[in-house]
């Protein structure tokens, strides 16, 4: 059977539909109670019933994540620039950053609560702390792997190091940067929800935590689905941005 382009495009949806169907059948066949593992139908029902609070919580989580994410872009790019442009900075800072990144952020949230109180602070900061590292690393890598031939072209004209970094290094790193954004945004969502679950008073994380403690599993799962949908939408958005702005770097893979 020849796989057409149309089939390729519809395939993810088909797989999703098949998975949902299977899920429904399994729950029905084994009569799994609602509070252990709800079926897609039950989740959909709770989704409709609690649409208001769900969307409100989702919106809150969304913009808290966006704030943290914006912060991580700014810091990530600056830090990446510093580390990638100076070998000394690279050697001096990198081990420390890796160590910092290895600390599970769940452990950091209580500390943030002590410093900033329950509410927005821990949410934004956790999103930031968890998501700036990939951006830093990718920018630093892009700058540090600059081909000498491209550099020579400018050096021969007497260009200063700054010129080389800004005119050649940074544009050259853009594919890496946009790639890292896709990872960072999903991480940022993780950070926010984590903070909300541990020490939040609103947002999807908090809603899921409350629903779980009241044995309302379908609602908790509905929250899960909401986050998943948001994160996926953002991922696709940045994927699209990446294609538009760095088309020059992807020309090899366009052969279809």
């Amino acid at each position: 059977m020849k796989i057409t382009r149309r089939m390729e495009r519809w395939s993810p949806l088909l797989v999703l539909a098949a998975a949902l169907l299977l899920w429904q059948l399994v729950v029905a066949a084994f009569s799994i109670p609602e509070f252990i593992f709800p079926s897609p139908w039950q989740i959909a029902q709770d989704f409709a019933a609690f649409k208001g609070p769900l969307l409100e919580a989702a919106w809150k989580t969304f913009w808290v994540t966006m704030l943290g994410f914006a912060l991580s872009i700014v810091v990530g790019v600056l830090l990446g620039f510093v580390i990638g442009s100076s070998r000394l900075a690279y050697t001096a800072l990198y081990p420390l950053m890796v160590a910092f990144n290895a600390v599970p952020k769940a452990a950091v949230v209580p500390i943030l609560v002590v410093w900033f109180g329950i509410g927005l602070g821990p949410g934004i900061l956790t999103a930031f702390l968890i998501s700036f590292f990939p951006i830093t690393v990718n920018i630093a890598t892009g700058l540090a792997t600059l081909e000498p031939e491209l550099e020579d072209v400018l050096r021969v004209l007497g260009a200063r190091r700054w010129d080389v970094l800004v005119k050649v290094g940074l544009p050259r790193s853009m594919p890496y940067f946009y790639g890292s954004l896709k990872i960072a945004i999903t991480l940022a969502f993780v950070g926010t929800v984590l903070a909300e679950m541990t020490a939040g008073d609103s947002g999807i994380g908090y809603l899921m935590q409350t629903a779980g403690s009241q044995q309302r599993m379908p609602l908790a799962f509905a929250g899960l689905v909401t986050i998943g949908a948001m994160a996926m939408a953002m991922y696709e958005l940045f994927s699209w941005v990446e294609k538009r702005t760095t088309g020059w770097a992807h020309r090899g893979s366009q052969a279809d």
């Binding site: 031939e149 072209v153 050259r172």
Partner: protein
Amino acid sequence: MSFVDFRNVWLAYNEELLAKGHFAVEDISLQVDEGEFIAIVGPSGCGKSTFMKLTTGLKMPSRGSIAIGGQPVTGPLKISGMAFQAPSLLPWRSTVDNVLLPLEIVEPYRSTFKRKRREYEARARTLLQSVGLAGYEDKFPWQLSGGMQQRASICRALIHEPKMLLLDEPFGALDAFTREELWCTLRDLHAAQRFNVILVTHDLRESVFLADTVYCMSRSPGRFVVKRQIELPRPRDLDVTYTPEFTEIVHELRGHIGAVRKSGAAIAQ
């Protein structure tokens, strides 16, 4: 007075090698007049690229002196343009933007760039058209063939109207037909603008066709072993490459290079 003046120049790559007496190039003396076209031919690893680095001020000599335009060389020159074997065009810029790049770096163009942008762009487009890239100015480098990219690279080396053009095996990666086309393009540009050209190449025919003077360099440590004036009248047509006089000159030079390759000393590390 000569424009480029090398006097007894020696270069060792670092202190260690200098102490051991291992030089990359030895006792280089050469004088190039304004507007002259010289070619340097030699085996691989003989120090041709080192010579280029000395000329552009990217490296300082360990011994001897270099003066360009009467001034001693202390750093990268802004009066020279350079093209390498790889075109190295920036893939995120269109061809015309690539050609404009030196004007964004070099004074006095840099400070007037925003104001005079349209004028500079017109200049870049004219230059591209003169080398046969009309219609391709707004395309991206990957949409151009290797020969076209190299042409654009040469335009980029000339946009800031340098007095000196340095070419480091620029046509090495091209097929024979494109190479001959680009010889003619270069010949015409040189005839029109009369800048100095220092061409480093492996190709003897190329050097004899294009240059006024050909220097042969020995293997590492590089020394000039032959200096040959090319008396063929200008403007030179491609047909001249099939005449007996031409072939004789190439043959003679080939003999010198052959002798150099056989009797060369072990390559210093």
